[in-house]
Amino acid sequence: MKILVVDDETDVKDLFEQRFRREIRSGEFELAFANSGEDALTYLDGHPSEVVLILSDINMPGMSGFELLRHIRTDHNAPPPPIVMMITAYGDPDSQQQAVELGANDFLTKPLDFAVLKQKLRDVV
């Protein structure tokens, strides 16, 4: 299962790679990373229908997570539509509702609980 992680923090890549080291080694998950919404769209354009799940931060300079989500739902929604989970440091109900309205499948707050995240990822597969 290919997962695209979108976050402006570059160290997120290392963190995810270590957190999911066993899953990556076993080939259960395949991780791709993008540092901005724009990067993510470029990646999606280059790898059509490959990404099953997208984990995106909301607060990013430039294109925000919400915008990215909107783009995904309009331009990269070829069936089966990718599962999108939004991540934010501001876990307010307002943002959560907005994410759901824009077509997010789930909403996670920072700091991420990787055990919970792993369970969620396994559940969607």
Binding site: D14, N59, S64, E67, R70, Y90, E101, K110, L112
Partner: protein
Amino acid sequence: MESLDPTKYLGDFWAIVVSYYVIRWVRRFLETPTRIPDWDQWLKYVWLAGIPLVLADQFLGRTMTWFWAFICLAIVYTVWLIKDYRPARTLLSAIAPLAAVYVLTNAVRTVGFYAANKDYFEAAKGFAFIWLLTFVISARNQKKAISKQEEERSLVEARKAELEALVAERTAEIRSQKEVLQEALDELKTTQTQLIQSEKMASLGELTAGIAHEIQNPLNFVNNFSEVSVELIDELSQEQQKPVRDPELEAELLTDLRQNLQKITHHGHRAASIVRGMLQHSRTSTGQREPVDLNDLCDEYLRLAYHGLRAKDKSFNASFSTDLDTNLGLITAVPQDIGRVLLNLITNAFYAVQQRQKAAAVPTDKLAGTNSPPRADTRVGEGIYQPNVSVKTRCVDGQAQVTITDNGTGIPEELKARIFQPFFTTKPTGEGTGLGLSLAYDIVTKGHGGTLTVESKEGQGTTFVITLPA
């Protein structure tokens, strides 16, 4: 011995009475009781000398003729005692001829010369008497003139005293006014200090959310990398217990561990530096100049300002960029103060793009014809308006130049002149103190000898340029 002559006694009696009144007049005229009180005690009773002289006249004869000479001498002596008093001198001139005539007459009375020239002596006596009267009148006039002068002088003095009292009164009034003003000034200064402090706290309040966000991120990394490292260590020890060990995997695990610890340190420092910056911001400025890295300050406050605004307005999104001159080096400045200036200008820039974004959102909603509240996705319409704030540093003519540019609402021409005035704000009541730009201006120009200029086009954006001497 002469027989008793009642008429002669009557004459002597009159002489004594007259002398009493003469002395009394002299005393009053010359004001002897106040001028020469000691001698006045005696002068008062000089006329009494007439009584023994009358009695002596009975036995010795002709003593009474010396009476007037005696009275005259007493008056002459009195006048001499107060010779500084001009009417007294005039009185002396008045009495002198008469006294001289009397003395001379008495001295030569027994000699034949007197008898031969008696008429002349009598005439001299008459002249001396007229002289006396003339001069007495003159002395009286002098006295009047003097007393008039004195009266005038005392009047002038009274006026002077009155004026002095008035001046003293005014002085006291002015002094008390000065004290009141001083008090008001002190109060104003205190208020100013308090306002500056509250402005600082207000901007800190705006920052809090940004700071929380900025600290939360590195802390998450610290926690995550620590936890992951524990997992890595577990894996490593499991590997070591295996009969057939994989040295490649072990090396990889060790490399990861080292990398993780470096990341933990990095993110720990990151959080610490944010806290340090926050403390520095809230601390009362020491006014101490020190080497400052403007690039660091710009980067730090740009992030804090952005996240601060983001935390308040979830729908707000803007791109921000830095273009920092790595050759800028350090400048000598008060870091807290310059930090406040940057924070203020950057916060204003984000506020301006936020306002423009909100204004741009309204027509879009109307076009869409929806009654639902505007949503983030509709507000940030693609190709319509992309909010942007950028900070640039450059070294220009040996001076550090910071340029803060936004593509926000811009400043109307008529408001440009007023933006640096204290208490001028376009924000709704309660949102802005109106002191931010005014303080920023003071800090840059008065505090650091730099310049702060603004260029703006309404509806297109604003650029603030700070120039600071190295």
